[in-house]
């Protein structure tokens, strides 16, 4: 406990330097902007801004990128409440009751509760990260290649279980992601795999290219084919700050949402996205008047909003302590760390304590800033929402092109991302989730590396994954999760969580 406080103190001393406060602020501001504008996700934005962080020091770069991520979670709720379009996938639930509240002239209350809930969640999640960091890192140091391999397998299985919709499709997407990561030179033998002799594939598919293609261009194609209806609230926003009575009414949903989000956020794949759905379902079940849900209940905004913010933050835990990214955004953070010469893993906390604790402490500062950025500046964000999509998407196209080119300095990569955009559109049309694909892709190379290392150590014997107790335990959890997920009763309640909302 004392140790945790000491660590946070060190972190604050790093995060509170003028320079890092500035990067945190810029990150939160850009993140809010991205979150507010529908059609630009955090994945595409962080991809675009990766080359920008080259000129910063590692701590500042990561603080800014993290700010973009949780800032986007935050901004997404503004759009959800005011326009009824979830600015981010995690704000889908907020759109339901939040927009109903807005239609009744209580947009301000919804925004205020979302902000306060998110701040409480952010504060709590920061403490969770700080408390879990040291033990998780110690655990990570016990992991050999076999344990890492089994942990990743378990993570991928959990990602399938938590994914939205068909299990078969989610599984196929993960496997396809791992397969795509095999393209390019084999890291052990240097032999080219599935490159068709194309020069641009020799080094493999860059994750940034894949992410910008599927999440950036794919999203644009999707919106062009099926335009979303925009329904900007014309009326007054109303009072922003809730009264004490309203706060007291909503503090329980906020705390429950925070708890749910903190736990689910650590899980790989859809964890952070599932959290608001789970919170909504929970509040509905606990409510005296469940029939009111969907008609503008404040608790249905406060709970899920807290859950998504907490989840966004705790999803940093696997990355920072074990070096395993649990979702696409965290995968980009791996990229950002590698650019700066930092290999993510349990050794980071030891070798770069300033960076580690500075980043954690900056999250709390960032959450405080978000309250400041969001509430008084709400009028500005509303104006921004009135920018028509016909101008917005060409700007996104241009930014993506510039970002892609400046990362790779190779025009072929820009074209490849454009073509991958079509793939993203096809996935959307066939109702495949792109998130598991990205996760599989991200973990793919690491998975193969650890598999080979483990088999090298064990002289080619596959039993090495079962003879190590830790590895066997991790595989068992994965197996149990898969079995439970396939059970009809479990499938039903999982679908209910999503369809309740």
């Amino acid at each position: 406990m004392i140790e945790t406080i000491e660590h946070l103190g060190l972190g604050l001393s790093v995060a509170l330097t003028l320079q890092n406060v500035f990067f945190c602020f810029v990150g939160c501001l850009i993140g809010t902007l991205v979150g507010v504008l529908p059609g630009v996700g955090p994945v595409a934005t962080i991809s675009i801004l990766l080359p920008v962080t080259l000129s910063l020091d590692p701590t500042g770069a990561l603080i800014m990128l993290a700010g973009i991520y949780y800032g986007a979670q935050y901004g997404g709720s503004t759009t959800a409440i005011l326009v009824n379009i979830p600015g981010e996938a995690t704000a889908v639930v907020t759109a339901i009751d939040g927009h109903e509240m807005a239609k009744r002239g209580k947009a301000g209350l919804a925004l205020g509760l979302a902000a306060i809930g998110s701040f409480i969640a952010g504060t709590f999640a920061t403490i969770v990260i700080a408390a879990l960091a040291t033990p998780m890192t110690k655990l990570g140091l016990l992991f050999g290649p076999a344990e890492y391999f089994s942990l990743m397998i378990m993570g991928l299985v959990l990602a399938v279980v938590l994914a939205h919709g068909s299990l078969v499709k989610a599984l196929a997407m993960i496997v396809a992601g791992v397969l795509l990561s095999c393209v390019g030179a084999d890291m052990e033998t240097g032999r080219e795999r599935m490159t068709f002799g194309l020069h641009m594939l020799t080094d493999g598919i860059e994750f940034v290219v894949l992410a910008m293609g599927i999440f950036g261009f794919g999203e644009i194609f999707k919106n062009l084919a099926d335009p979303e209806k925009r329904d900007v609230v014309r009326g007054k926003i109303g009072r922003l700050l809730p009264t004490l009575a309203e706060l007291r009414e909503n503090i329980r949903p906020i705390l429950r949402g925070t708890g749910l989000g903190s736990v689910l956020g650590v899980l790989p794949g859809n964890g952070a996205i599932l959290a608001p759905f789970a919170s909504y379902a929970l509040e509905k079940r606990l409510s005296d008047r469940p029939q009111d849900f969907g008609k503008g209940v404040p608790a249905a905004v406060a709970g899920p909003e807290s859950a998504n913010n907490a989840g966004a933050q705790t999803s940093f835990i696997p990355l920072l302590t074990l070096g395993l990214p649990p979702n696409a955004v965290m995968a980009l953070m791996v990229g950002a760390m590698m650019i700066q010469g930092i290999v993510p893993g349990p050794q980071v906390i030891e070798n770069n304590p300033d960076l580690f604790w500075g980043l954690v402490a900056s999250m709390w500062i960032g959450n405080l800033m978000l309250v400041v950025i969001n509430l008084p500046l709400i009028g500005l964000w509303v104006k921004l929402l009135k920018v028509p999509y016909r101008l917005l998407f060409p700007a996104i196209v241009a930014f993506c092109c510039i970002g892609l080119f400046s990362i790779s300095n190779d025009p072929a990569q820009v074209m490849m991302a454009g073509v991958l955009g079509l793939l993203g559109f096809a996935l959307y049309k066939l109702q495949f989730e792109a998130a598991p694909l990205a996760l599989g892709f991200v973990l793919g190379r690491l998975l193969e590396e650890k598999l080979r290392q483990a088999l090298l150590i064990s002289d080619g014997s596959m039993t090495t994954f079962l003879t190590s107790p830790l590895s066997a335990f991790l595989l068992l959890i994965g197996l149990v999760a898969l079995v439970i997920a396939v059970l009809p009763s479990m499938r039903k309640s999982r679908d209910e969580i999503f369809t309740d909302a």
Partner: protein, 172 residues
Amino acid sequence: MSREVAPPTPSLNPWLGRERLAGLSLVVFGLFALWAGSDLPSFTQDGIGSGLLPRALAVIIALLGVVQIVVTWKDTPESTGSWPIRDMLPVLIGVFLFALTIRGYDFGAFAVPVLGMSVATPLSIIFAGAAAKDVRFGELIVFAAILTAICIGLFRYALGLSLPVAPWLIGY
């Protein structure tokens, strides 16, 4: 949820229903990957070869495709809706034009000169913008000019990235 479910169309060929099409795509993708990796050895004398994992994954994907087709066999086929590829084409053209002009491109028979951000950016914006159904070209051209200036200022000067701006005019 935001995804609209298309009303079932009774006359739809079941192989064109969304779920079966999804399964079919997986089978095709798996077989394609098998073919693409067919030159790679599965095992070498040192242990696992570079072909084992890709091959195993490709087989799994194809099998999952079959499972997908089987489990949705009796479902009423749902249409995937429209695929307005032609409406998206301008965006793709914009992206390709950006790629070809930003640093030039040598096709062998002829070469695109290095035109830099000053040309590549507005080209991509105007072509992409043409994809909107409610496009207004006057507005789009003004917007492209302003945004190009902002991008050059931001990426080249403020952030110091070494992107060519207008080599044909100012030399870099």
